[in-house]
């Protein structure tokens, strides 16, 4: 009998490493969101000549990263 990887969080206090790893996952999702959508915003700015698309891109990236974090880690 094999245990599946990444068991859902148990209530007996044994998932110490999973918690820390979850925290780092959150940080890297946020950073990924900022970098991709900020990067897309930056490229669109250069192409279209506007100045505010970078900020919109950053905000959209953070918003999407929040949504993904909520979906993965918040509703289990």
């Amino acid at each position: 009998m094999s245990t599946p990887a990444r068991k859902p969080p148990s209530d007996d206090g044994r998932d110490g490493p999973l918690e820390e790893a979850r925290a780092w996952g959150i940080t890297s999702y946020l950073l990924a969101g900022l970098l991709t959508f900020g990067g897309i915003g930056l490229l669109l700015d250069r192409w279209l000549g506007t100045t505010w698309l970078v900020l919109v891109g950053l905000l959209v990236g953070v918003g999407l990263a929040f949504y993904l974090i909520w979906f993965r880690y918040g509703t289990r």
């Binding site: 094999s2 990887a5 490493p17 820390e20 790893a21 780092w24 890297s28 990924a32 959508f37």
Partner: protein, 264 residues
């Protein structure tokens, strides 16, 4: 710090900076192929680890002696706490050599940062964390691709149950996360912790030395305080070093486990 020192009329003090991490031994100062001290230290650490574990397993008895006990303790910690929990008990054995090697290598090299005559954490030269991260990166992507195929692996990036209009954005986000951000944060975390820790110790120790030896009596008291703080920060550095080795290995195991997971 220098403007204050100059204002007090003391000698110039160059604060420690990134140039203090460059320590060539053989070769010129600027070429890309000089043999530097960290490179020699990493080789030495490999020899040390190999010698230790060979000595620990030379006479294997059921009731372990001291060396074998320590060796078994470290191995058991990685195998149970990190390997079995995060990769699942079916196929964690394949990755145990990788995890074990990473943990011991990073641990020994980090602790080099506070051993009295050595005192240089080799992971503070960014090439070493990058090398370890490249291995982790290749392993966890290759494992996932081989298990699920390219299309299945990409499809597995997106968690199920999302409204379908948002899936392309989330896919882009997850793709950038898994292929770009994760290796960057993995290597940068180890590098930045070791770099900052070593720089902190350098500032306290060199500042204490400068203040006690070269400046007036008021500064000598502050220099003494700085030396005490250097001792405190050394213990803190030990904690950070062990923790960083543990976290690196933990995240490697987590990524491999995530690539092997069949459900979400």
């Amino acid at each position: 710090m220098s403007p204050l020192v100059l204002a007090a009329g003391g000698e110039g003090f160059t604060p420690p900076g990134p140039e203090d991490f460059w320590w060539p031994i053989v070769g010129s100062n600027t070429s890309n192929w000089t043999l530097t001290r960290p490179a020699v230290m990493v080789l030495l650490s490999v020899v040390l680890i190999g010698w230790f574990f060979l000595a620990a397993t030379k006479r294997r008895s059921l009731v372990p002696g001291k060396l074998q006990f320590v060796g078994e303790g470290i191995y058991g910690f990685i195998r149970e706490g990190i390997g079995r929990d995060l990769i699942g008990s079916k196929d964690f054995r394949r990755f145990l050599p990788l995890l074990f090697t990473q943990f011991t290598l990073i641990l020994v090299n980090n602790v080099f940062g506070i051993i009295p005559f050595v005192q240089f954490p080799t992971m503070s030269r960014i090439g070493f964390p990058i090398g370890l991260t490249i291995i982790t990166y290749l392993v966890f992507h290759a494992v996932g691709l081989r298990k699920k195929g390219v299309v299945g692996y990409l499809k597995d990036l997106v968690p199920p149950g999302l409204p379908s209009w948002i899936v392309p954005f989330i896919f882009l986000l997850e793709f950038v996360d898994k292929f770009i951000t994760r290796p960057i944060t993995l290597s940068l975390r180890l590098f930045a912790n070791m770099f900052a820790g070593h720089l902190l110790l350098l500032v306290f120790i060199l500042g204490a030395e400068h203040m006690i030896l070269d400046l007036g009596p008021g500064f000598k008291v502050v220099g003494l305080l700085s030396a005490v703080l250097a001792v405190v920060m050394t213990f803190f550095e030990l904690l950070v070093e062990v923790l960083q080795a543990y976290i690196f290995t933990l995240l490697t195991a987590l990524y491999i486990g995530g690539a092997l997971a069949e459900e979400h």
